[in-house]
Amino acid sequence: MANIELRNVVKRFGALEVIKGVDLRIEHGEFCVFVGPSGCGKSTLLRMISGLEDITGGEVLIDGKPVNNVSAAERGLSMVFQSYALYPHMSVRQNLSFGLENVRTPKDVIETKVRDVATMLQIDQLLERRPKELSGGQRQRVAIGRAVVREPLGFLFDEPLSNLDAELRVEMRGEISSLHRRLGNSMIYVTHDQVEAMTMADKIAVLRAGLVEQYGRPLELYNRPANLFVAGFIGSPKMNFLEGRISADAQTEIVLDSGERLNVPAGKFSGGPDQRVTIGIRPTDLDLSEDGIRLDVGGVEQLGGESHIFGTTADGRKLTLHAQGQTPVAIGEEIRISVPSDRMHLFDTQSGKTLLSA
């Protein structure tokens, strides 16, 4: 059990700054997910916490103690790697016990711990096998087992599910979540898949280009994205964006680039007249209506239970609408859609920041 804190953490490789000052606090017992596109620095950040990567600037604290100069071996964390990184020449049993042997654990204790963990993860039948004789899912379990058996203060996961097929990924997702509930340790989990982040996390840190864009609970990020990037990254299907500006005469009206107008409730957003804004609206929040924004339908997918409509606005923007049930709309038609103002997000186009007033 431990809380992990990052204070203005910076990482440079030569002249290249990869992590540009990150502040985060992970309370003990929390499941925190670092999510972001590839190259955003999330894995580097994790490795800096683990001790495998040097910290160029700032501080990492575990339970309030700075650990910048503590080696990976002594930080009391364990890690599950993307490629599992099982020792290929050792049996599953040896893989599990290697770490314990390194810290001079008595033989009988090792034996008990390995057996308990193996039973818990249902790999007790595989103890004498080599990693190459295991399936992907089994390897994943062994990798997790190796992390668990040392009873660390916290767990670090580096995209652990990215090598599994879709079905297995869903299954393992559930298992890692239940493992977290059972052990109650702090966990930091790195992924580029926002679905994994949404389903597993207590808290999500969205990273981009070495900076945390937003840190909060999953639904908080979904409902109140702090900026355009988070809005576009979190949520599936992806949010639609329309460009426009706040009307010069009325603060509650937005003039879209197509010339169409949208009403927004007074007081919900802050923004000055003529300010360029980006309107975000999730595909599931759009409604078909008599009047509203014009859309030329370019494609329709009928899934039975729901329908996806793809269209283009008058100013040439692509827009997606997910409607419940089946739809009579056909390709080539011209339809109207309404944007419910309570589900609408508004961002300053220039800075990307949300205009939602707190």
Partner: protein, 351 residues
């Protein structure tokens, strides 16, 4: 010309009947076997021949020895002859001594009677016999065991040292980022360019300064840090995923433990190849031992073999079995590990 050309190229795959290009191919291969293995086989057969048989011209294919028999009242066994002409025709006699064209013979059945016969009237009774004593003599009368020991000691020690220090260096150069790494790599590549053969004089000075002239260490140490070995191992170790090392670090393994418990077992195939190569190099090494070792009792097999052949007279009776014993370990290793050796040598480009 066209024929040679056609056989130099491939033919359609999977046809049932041999056409003439196949005949040429197998002819070439047969010729290859005779040319490549023939001389070795001839050496092997010859090494079992007695001294007299070795002198014989023209030589016979198989080792042959004359039958002998212990006859009463003679200490040594006497050679047996079959009489093919003259008075005693048809009898089997043993020779006591020979004087010019006349031989004193005796019938083993009646040892008291001495017979004088013309040497032209008789024919030796011979059978195929392997003169194993050529080999046993090497061990009993010559310093051969000492040379064998010297060679073995040098080969094993040098290989062990080389494997350890080369794999350590290869690990550092493949899995660490550190200041100066490029310089070290460049220096190592640079030494690949300068073959050891051109550094004989100063290397000898150093060896003599360390008092290692005429010691086995003088042969072992200078060649232990081969750039070839470092490179071979480094190329292999680079392919080991870094994540495995990181996992071991998370598992509280020290860097040395990572090397010893993770890297070494995972590099086993490359280390095996290098070990085989190193054994070959050291066992067959000639020039450097020739320079360092000046006294007979420190000689390696190769030096001893070379010294067995005199300036004018060569004692083939000893030399041939000694040669066979020298190539035997290589031949055995080759038979079992042909594939490893082939890939190893192809990947390092020899030495």
């Amino acid at each position: 010309m066209a024929r040679i050309v056609a056989f130099l190229t491939r033919t359609r795959a999977g046809k049932g009947r041999m056409d003439w290009t196949d005949w040429v191919t197998y002819g070439y291969l047969l010729f290859g076997i005779v040319l490549m293995f023939g001389p070795v086989a001839w050496l092997l057969l010859s090494s079992f021949k007695t001294g007299a048989e070795l002198e014989r011209f023209p030589p016979r294919l198989l080792p042959v020895a004359q039958d002998t028999l212990v006859v009463e009242s003679y200490d040594e066994p006497l050679p047996l002859f079959k009489m093919i002409a003259g008075d005693q025709e048809g009898r089997t006699l043993a020779q006591i001594r020979r004087v010019g064209l006349i031989a004193q013979m005796v019938d083993p059945a009646e040892p008291e009677t001495r017979l004088k016969v013309n040497v032209a009237d008789r024919e030796p009774i011979e059978r195929i016999a392997f003169a194993w004593n050529n080999y046993t003599d090497l061990f009993e009368r010559l310093n051969f065991p000492l040379y064998l020991w010297n060679s073995t000691a040098i080969t094993l020690t040098a290989t062990a040292i080389m494997l350890v220090i080369n794999s350590m260096a290869a690990f550092a150069l493949s899995k660490y980022k550190f200041r100066g790494k490029l310089t070290v790599l460049a220096l190592v590549i640079g030494t690949l360019m300068v073959p050891g053969t051109v550094l004989l004089v100063p290397t000898f000075l150093l060896v003599s300064q360390f008092g290692m002239v005429n010691t086995l260490w003088g042969v072992i140490i200078p060649g232990a840090a081969t750039p070839t070995g470092v490179f071979l191992l480094r190329q292999y170790m680079i392919t080991i995923p870094d994540e495995i090392l990181d996992a071991a670090r998370m598992d509280s393994a020290s860097e040395w433990k990572i090397f010893w418990r993770i890297i070494i077992p995972l590099s086993a195939p490359a280390i095996a190849v290098l070990a085989i190569l190193a054994i070959m190099w050291r066992w067959n090494d000639f020039l450097w031992p020739l320079i360092v070792l000046s006294e007979n009792d420190k000689f390696t097999l190769q030096l001893a073999l070379n010294s067995f052949q005199g300036e004018f007279l060569t004692d083939w009776e000893k030399l041939l079995p000694a040669t066979v014993l020298t190539l035997l370990p290589v031949a055995i290793v080759f038979m079992f590990l042909q594939k490893y050796i082939a890939t190893g040598i192809a990947s390092t480009g020899g030495k």
